[in-house]
Subunit: 342 residues, 2 copies
């Protein structure tokens, strides 16, 4: 059997209370000798507190619930790694829940997490989540007094308990890099136009274009769905319009990879004929035939920041001053050529 406080109390002939106090390192209420004795026998008996019991009396456990759509998505597995690292550092744990992008699953997961006494939630909502659904989730967590941090997905949520990426900056970075590399005719494969993050990236693109005195050209914009196939399809659309294209900025990496594939099938070489920039920096980018230049979202850091926000007693229950916004970074690899040198 596991050693309990009671056993230590029995052995040392002291009360459970004292033993508990000493072990939890509470303000000096004990003489040094007794303290030492307790600590030694605890060590000797290999005492480790029963965290379930602690959780019961404290009304909450040191567990962060990470509710996301699918851990197989590289985006989320890196986020999860960050969350878990921060947990380990603080003797917390992470319970992982997948929603498969179903809001109903999200709600079920939140409930389960609450029932299990989770000490907080890090929450990347299902992609089908409407504003009303988002509200439902948030209200639930508030009513259960569950500290939470949202991970920016597609919707614009009115809360400061959120970690997100400055996608305007991301769009700006990609476009201005392409511009600097001498590309004039830049095509865009955007995400679904109703998604706020796609809109933000486009805003950033236009800003950069403006700085070079270039007027955005609708003919150079094709809408995708953030999937490999939609990236290929977007290239098809673009090509049909027979506008000149120096480079393509795809609003995520999977579309960029789909685009490259289709370009090649048309005999168009990357980056010699057309340069490509992606977005996300997923694992495979580095190992592609033409390693993909992309805009990196610092997912791991975001996971750590979100976890810290929940674990830290200071920030646990009070809303932050403002959203935690991360700057995306340009990761230069091989998929963009310098046209200035041509």
């Amino acid at each position: 059997m596991r050693t309990t406080l009671k056993q230590i109390a029995d052995v040392t002939k002291m009360s459970i209370t004292i033993v508990s106090q000493v072990i939890n390192n509470k303000p000096c209420r004990v003489s040094k000798e007794k303290r030492k004795l307790i600590l030694e026998t605890a060590e000797e008996l290999n005492y480790r507190p029963n965290l379930v019991a602690v959780g019961l009396v404290k009304g909450s456990t040191n567990i962060i619930g990470l509710a996301i759509s699918d851990i197989r998505n590289n985006f989320f597995s890196v986020l999860a790694k960050g969350v878990e690292e921060e947990c380990q550092k603080n003797n917390w744990n992470m319970i992982l829940c997948n929603s498969n992008d179903k809001h109903s699953k999200d709600m079920a997961n939140l409930q389960m997490l609450a029932d299990k006494g989770a000490g907080g939630i890090i929450f990347g909502m299902a992609s089908e989540t409407t504003e009303a659904m988002a509200q439902e989730c948030i209200e639930f967590m508030q009513q259960e007094h569950l500290p939470y941090m949202l991970v920016d997905r597609y919707i614009d949520i009115q809360t400061d308990r959120i970690v997100c990426v400055d996608h305007v900056q991301g769009g700006y970075l990609a476009t201005s890099y392409l511009l600097k590399m001498g590309h004039k005719n830049i095509a865009y494969i955007t995400g679904p136009s109703n998604l706020i993050d796609s809109q933000q990236r486009l805003t950033g693109c236009n800003e950069a274009l403006g700085e070079y005195g270039i007027v955005p050209n609708q003919n150079l914009i094709a809408e995708g769905k953030y999937t490999f196939e939609s990236g290929a399809a977007a290239v098809e659309k673009l090509l049909k319009r027979s506008v000149k294209i120096d480079a393509i900025f795809a609003f995520n990496d999977m579309m960029a990879i789909g685009a490259i594939k289709r370009l090649r099938e048309h005999g168009i070489q990357v980056p010699q004929d057309v340069s490509i920039v992606g977005y996300d920096d997923i694992f495979m980018d580095e190992f592609l035939d033409v390693p993909l230049t992309t805009i990196k979202q610092p997912m791991k850091e975001m996971g750590r920041a979100a976890a810290r926000q929940i674990i830290n007693p200071e920030s646990r229950y009070k809303n932050g001053e403002k959203r935690i916004i991360f700057e995306p970074k340009l990761v230069i690899r091989k998929s963009v050529i310098d046209r200035n040198e041509l």
Copy 2:
């Protein structure tokens, strides 16, 4: 506040005992009317059991600890998905712990999991784990009465509580497919030779070769380390030996991808000049320039099976009849050409 059994007892003017019995659907000890009343008010008050309290009294919670090296590894994120799916189905949860391939971290994670009252562990040990270390882990779990299932990694562990893949069959599948496609000179990029799974694959390869009356040629074998770079380096070694090569079977996908890259840099086309087969079926295979033909390990199914073994009360504590062995599958894509047609 959350509704408790006591509140329901107060409202219905019955004892906590009865309420508990009814809600847990225990053998009929109550009259139908009372039962109905209790159930209704529970519903009305939105009662949800406090699982921490349940955990305390039961001495164990419905939580599976998944202890692996790194969730960012596609292999493990798919495994985790399987585990979590099975958990959701049974109202269990999954705590995720990364060891970063450190045995000491593994031990710390196991301890934490035990302290949190985990109801079982699914455990993919760190790659640095020696047999003695493995023993240490297993003894710890046994002493804590923690049901466990190991996920086959590199070492040969004497236990039946393990899910694994028939790697002999995997090697056999790959080689015999290549043979059937008319490749005579098949090179192998193996894993580290001290690792049992690499040995097993090689055994399978030799079996297939034997069936075609081909004698294994040491000149066609290069040892890798299961990394992208080592795959490329292995190609370099192979090429230096200037033996004729029709095809390469790399013992995992990352090495296969590294090999392809290096082959191309030497002006050798895949699959026209050299065909390639990988092993694992990681996410990116499908989206490569030349989609990779590979041997798939059914990770998700393995995760589900392992979880089931722990969740199911029948199999929870007793050792299984035998190891749960999964058959790998050949996934045909584009990286192998049919030489019979040439």
